[in-house]
């Protein structure tokens, strides 16, 4: 059975100043949680604001629950919106903020009071009812903003980095709460985020955008393990992105020539084709030179350039046929770390090497260009 679509953005284009959204298309299934990711300045907030109706599109359509709302003003769309700074009305108390939409739509005072108090209770902010936003903490503001957006029973909720301004502890608890509410109420949520952590925890689907264009869409595990574009690879945490050429295929594995070195990847790829070779820093292991390798891994003699101690272990820059970034977890590393100039062997399993076909359209920008 086909999933019903709550938000459908089809070939939407618009220009604001010197930035453009270019033929953007994607769908947000009903009752799902979609996370919109992309580098800074990718157009995430602009896309959210366009769906909310703040800017007219120059072409394309926006559909909510099969109804074309492209030409409707924001107040007629029934979409809730929460900005990163929550944008609470500073001259109104918490209860006045939450009841704002009910007042605008002419709900009688008694009914309004009843509904707002139930919402404040649900969000655990009943005690804040008479307070002004300027006196609330970040977590409290976020709850008020969510309660305010939900008071109008929105058909969909758009969240613009709602957890970015919170401290780490508050952020995790707020994410859990939001996910719980989304599941419980069967809400359709489209959220902008910068972090994979949020996407893994919250999203049923991630949509990757850069320079006003959608690059990839899918479940987070699929998008982050199989990026189809260099920008996605970067967002997915592939610290090493190198340009290589497919060489000989042997036992179903391809040897890729990168500079003066060779890396082996799973599967057979057409010889002579060019690829971006993506490897996570955590997928590279270091051994002493001279330990024999097995057929499914690449072994490279490298020199340690630098070693930095981080929370998780050591972050190394090593160089050989080409430079690599390596992260050695604390439990696998020597207590003394590594010394610049030290000879090491880098080992990379063929299954950890991800290839992106190199075409003209995905060579622009990023650290690989």
């Amino acid at each position: 059975m086909l999933e019903s679509m709550m938000i459908a953005v089809e070939n939407v284009s618009l220009t604001r100043g010197n930035f453009s959204l270019s033929r953007v298309s994607f769908v947000v299934p009903e009752d799902s949680y979609t996370v919109l990711m992309g580098p800074s300045g990718a157009g995430k907030t602009l896309l959210l604001e366009t769906i909310a109706g703040f800017y007219p599109v120059s072409e394309g359509t926006v559909t909510i629950a099969d109804k074309d709302i492209t030409l409707q003003p924001p107040e007629k769309r029934g979409i809730g919106f929460v900005y990163q700074d929550y944008s609470l009305f500073p001259h109104l108390t918490v209860v006045e903020n939450v009841s704002f939409s009910l007042k605008m739509t002419g709900i009688p005072s008694d009914e309004r009071t009843e509904k707002v108090h139930a919402l404040l209770d649900q969000f655990g902010i009943l005690t804040l009812a008479g307070r002004y936003p300027g006196t609330l903490s970040g977590g409290e503001k976020q709850r008020v903003a969510l309660a305010r957006a939900l008071a109008m029973n929105p058909v969909a909720l758009l969240l613009d980095e709602p957890f970015a301004a919170l401290d780490p502890d508050t952020r995790s608890s707020c994410m859990e709460e939001v996910k719980f509410i989304q599941k419980e109420q069967g809400l359709t949520v489209l959220q902008v985020s910068h972090t994979r952590e949020e996407a893994y925890l919250l999203a049923d689907q991630v949509v990757i955008i850069d320079r006003g264009m959608i690059l990839q869409t899918g479940p987070p595990s699929e998008v982050f393990s199989r990026p189809a574009h260099p920008t996605v690879a970067s967002l997915a945490g592939f610290e090493n992105v190198l340009e290589g050429t497919a060489g000989a295929v042997e036992k179903g594995k391809t040897h890729l020539v990168i500079g003066k070195g060779i890396i082996t990847a799973d599967h057979a790829f057409p010889e002579g084709n060019r690829y971006l070779v993506c490897i996570r820093a955590t997928d590279i292991t270091l051994t002493q030179p001279g330990i024999p390798r097995n057929d499914s891994e690449t072994s490279l003699d490298m020199l340690v350039i630098s070693c930095t101690t981080i929370d998780q272990g050591f972050l190394l820059q090593i160089d050989g046929p080409f430079p690599l970034t390596v992260m050695i977890p604390r439990r696998q590393s020597r207590s003394t770390g590594y010394h610049p100039g030290e000879q090491v062997t880098a080992r990379i399993a063929s299954e950890d090497v991800h290839l992106i076909p190199l075409s003209r359209k995905n060579t622009g920008g990023g650290p690989w260009s």
Binding site: H91, M104, Y132, G134
Partner: protein
């Protein structure tokens, strides 16, 4: 005080954070204002009979009434027409915005006699605005409405610029959110933007009122009568000498100081919300 304590206190005041380098030149200006007030005030205070006579003079009282009332009318008109203009200017980036802003600022740079001439030519009985309005009985030459339009004209930039600054400070995101919550653009303006701009609107109104009641040249060119206070002071200065005009000037300064002070006290908390407990 023991010497060590004295030395520590001295050091505490000598951390390079002193504003003395700013206060000295700045207070020179304040000093000039204080001196100007003293040269008006001291002779008047030394002659209380003349001051009492001026305060009881029906011509003086009428001039005060006309001036203050016309000032309030001018601010009312500015609020009605200037507030929408200030909001529109704060929310547009159109290329012609600069042209409108320049036009708004024109009364700032013109000599007041030129402003008066422009107002006269527009609102005289044969003027492009004065003629049609004259047909419905609204005359401006030597009439109260003439004083009001002259005051409005010279005060436009003071009101519009201060109010526009206030609107610019209200994040557009607040209006966006209000609209997703069911408010039309107009309702979002009334419910969110306007209350958050109260302080700037009041300040703009005060500036415009102060500018309006002080106007002389532009007012007398279209309406010498009924006499506004600035015209009366000039008339008494030329006909009765310094002492005659000094007493009225003193009364004007006193009234303005009291009004401005009361206004500032009353509006101290207007538009300030984030620090409430």
């Amino acid at each position: 005080m023991i010497p060590a304590e004295s030395s520590m206190r001295k050091r505490r005041h000598d951390t390079g954070n002193s504003l003395i380098a700013f206060w000295v030149p700045g207070m020179t200006l304040v000093g000039v204002v204080v001196l100007a007030l003293l040269v008006i005030t001291l002779p008047v205070l030394g002659d209380p009979e003349r001051l009492a006579a001026a305060a009881a003079d029906p011509v003086v009282l009428h001039a005060f009434l006309v001036t203050f009332l016309a000032g309030f009318c001018a601010v009312g008109i500015l609020a009605l027409f200037g507030t929408p203009l200030a909001y529109a200017l704060s929310r547009t980036n159109a290329p012609w915005k600069g042209v409108v802003e320049t036009l708004v600022d024109i009364p700032l740079v013109l000599p007041h006699t030129v402003a008066g001439l422009m107002v006269y030519l527009l609102f005289m009985s044969r003027g492009p605005i004065g003629a049609p309005l004259g047909e419905i009985g609204l005359t401006f030459e030597d009439a109260f409405p003439g004083i009001v339009v002259a005051m409005v004209f010279v005060s436009i930039p003071y009101y519009v610029n201060a109010t526009r600054e206030g609107f610019t400070r209200v994040p557009v995101q607040l209006e966006n959110v209000a609209r997703t919550l069911g408010a039309s653009r107009i309702r979002a303006f009334w419910a969110v933007t306007l209350p958050l701009t109260t302080r700037h609107i009041l300040y703009g109104g005060l500036l415009a009122w102060g500018r309006a009641i002080g106007e002389f040249a532009a007012v007398i060119m279209i309406a010498y009568f009924p006499l506004v206070i600035s015209a009366l002071i000039y008339y008494r200065f030329t006909s009765g000498g310094i002492a005659e005009s000094q007493a009225i000037a003193f009364l004007l300064i006193l009234l303005c100081l009291v009004l401005f002070y009361v206004f500032r006290v009353l509006t101290r908390h207007a538009g300030v919300y984030d620090d409430r407990g």
